[in-house]
């Protein structure tokens, strides 16, 4: 339910994606060993974050990012480095 609820919505958006990510997880061990409920996975409005239970790491689909900046505050361990895409890259709202 949730993934289709967000995928269709992101499909409406225009992006100019950079080849390099503007988001990184500072330390994957923190996600694997300390973070219990993965709020970034639940709360990111663009489903940028998914938890890979096999590899035990947080996957980052930076191409989805709509640049709200919430993840930096949501992460209880301040373990997400989300800065802005380079000039002109990222999401480009048509309505806003």
């Amino acid at each position: 339910m949730s993934s289709s609820a967000v995928d269709a919505r992101l499909g409406l958006l225009t992006y100019k994606n950079d080849h390099e990510s503007h988001i990184s997880i500072k330390n994957q061990d923190v996600c694997a060993n300390q973070c219990k409920d993965k709020p970034c996975v639940a709360l990111c409005p663009a489903a940028v974050y998914t938890w890979d239970d096999v590899k035990k790491n947080t996957k980052v689909q930076y191409e989805n990012c709509i640049e709200c900046g919430g993840c930096r505050m949501i992460c209880p361990y301040l373990n997400i480095d989300c800065h802005w895409p380079r000039g002109g890259f990222g999401v480009a709202y048509k309505y806003g």
């Binding site: 339910m1 949730s2 609820a5 967000v6 919505r9 992101l10 409406l12 958006l13 100019k16 409920d37 709020p39 639940a42 709360l43 409005p45 663009a46 709509i66 640049e67 709200c68 900046g69 919430g70 930096r72 505050m73 949501i74 301040l78 800065h83 802005w84 895409p85 380079r86 000039g87 002109g88 990222g90 999401v91 480009a92 709202y93 048509k94 309505y95 806003g96």
Partner: protein
């Protein structure tokens, strides 16, 4: 990038930045307006209702400009209080006086507005640079003297104005704010929905360019501090919902699931029937208010708009505060140029202007509203439910005399909330209304 030294580099071409650039340039200052999006508005999200008075101060008689991208003039404003999924109460005010030009407020499509506004600043001589992300301010002897961009270029200036929004990188790098805490911001998610003009007019009882806004409170926010909104544009509806980030965290509700919860509400689903989604967006809204406001000026810098937490959430105002602050920052730059003094003491004039305007008193009056609600968030759920129950008793005819219905309503209020608690609630919420 030009090598000359600007009087001001203004970061962010939103309402604060463009107002600042326009006013400063019109007063003879040499200003650069930087925007990280491909065009102004590319990164910006708003409901969006804009207030005319404060735009008029920056662009006099803007409504007479044929290129002005206003949507509908708001003539009616409605509040809907919801209880559960099936009960709701409507309060609506339609003001005949709102029909005259200029309107009190009007809806806009933010990206169109931001492009128009930045163009107005350019017409006054401001230099707009799009696709430029600032990486950090340049400091010389403790004073801010320009910015570095993510492409490692430098722009030199006598001062820098941070109008870079809720996630103000400039303010963070200047060390005047830390990361916001989750209870200092709300997350809003929104859709723009296409629907023919005639359907909007019929569905909302509007004519010509009249517009309606609706804010939904109560069960719609699932116990979180927040509300949903539905605004009429010319040929689209803006539907969104916002809640404190700390509340979303506590409830672990996905923002787009909350949006679906809103869209499927029996009243809202009827109002948006057959409307086709054009765009989905999400943005943070600063809601810390005066308690979270950073220092507004320093040696060679000023801060305006969302970057300075200038939002009055109980009145859904923010972009007007930003325009006013940008305008006042622009005036301050013109004066600083005239006196050739961009020091901290010279730029302090900006804060004095803010305090003398409506911005400061409004933020002061509302500084504790959200904190007071947070002390007992059940207010958000209990009163909508009790009000709907009271309405139910008022309108229901059965075998019992009206007197008994009244008695039962009174008993219900006293049992569920109690006299003391109700007085306390009224006291806590006193600044929210008015």
């Amino acid at each position: 990038m030009p090598d000359d030294i600007f009087d001001a580099v203004i970061v962010g071409a939103g309402p604060a930045g463009s107002a600042c650039a326009l006013t400063a340039a019109a007063g003879g200052a040499n200003v650069a307006l930087l925007e990280r999006g491909e065009y102004p508005g590319a990164k910006n999200v708003q409901g969006a209702v804009l207030y005319a008075k404060h735009l008029d101060a920056v662009v006099p008689q803007f409504w007479k400009d044929p290129s002005f991208p206003g949507e509908r003039n708001i003539t009616e404003q409605r509040v809907v209080v919801t209880s559960g999924r099936e009960d709701w109460i409507n309060f609506s005010f339609r003001g005949g006086r709102y029909k005259t030009e200029p309107p009190n407020c009007f809806t806009i499509i933010r990206t169109k507005f931001d492009q128009w506004f930045a163009k107005k600043a350019e017409e006054k001589g401001a230099q707009l640079f799009t696709g430029v992300t600032v990486s950090e301010p340049i400091r010389t002897n403790g004073s801010v003297k320009g910015v570095k961009t993510s492409d490692a270029e430098e722009l030199n200036a006598h001062c820098v104005v941070a109008c870079d929004g809720v996630n103000s990188l400039i303010a963070q790098k200047l060390g005047v704010i830390d990361e916001w805490k989750m209870d200092e911001v709300a997350m809003g998610v929104k859709e723009v929905l296409a629907i023919p003009k005639e359907k909007i007019d019929d569905r909302f009882a509007l004519e010509g360019n009249e517009g309606l806004t609706i804010e939904f409170f109560g069960s719609i926010s699932q116990g979180m501090i927040g509300y949903a909104f539905l605004y009429t544009n010319k040929e689209s509806l803006s539907l969104g919902v916002g809640a404190k980030l700390s509340d979303l965290r506590r409830k672990m509700i996905k923002p787009y699931d909350l949006l679906d919860f809103v869209k499927t509400h029996p009243l809202i689903s009827r109002l948006i029937k057959d409307a086709k989604p054009l765009e989905y967006s999400a943005h943070l809204i600063p809601e810390g208010g005066l308690h979270s406001m950073p220092p507004l000026y320093g040696d060679g810098f000023l801060i305006a708009g969302d970057a300075a937490q200038m939002v009055n959430p109980t009145h859904r105002e923010g972009s007007n505060l930003a325009m006013t602050a940008g305008h006042l920052a622009g005036q301050t730059i013109v004066e600083a140029k005239k006196n050739n003094d961009f020091s901290k003491s010279a730029l302090a004039a900006y804060e004095r202007k803010i305090k003398a305007s409506y911005v400061w008193p409004d933020l002061w009056e509302h500084r504790n509203v959200e904190k007071n609600v947070e002390k007992d968030p059940s207010i958000l759920e209990v009163y909508p439910r009790l009000l709907c129950e009271a309405m139910y008793h008022h309108f229901t005819a059965d075998d019992r005399p009206k007197k008994e219905h009244k008695k039962e309503t009174m008993k219900m209020f006293l049992k569920e909330r109690g006299l003391f608690k109700m007085i306390q609630d009224a006291w806590r919420l006193r600044d929210a209304i008015g």
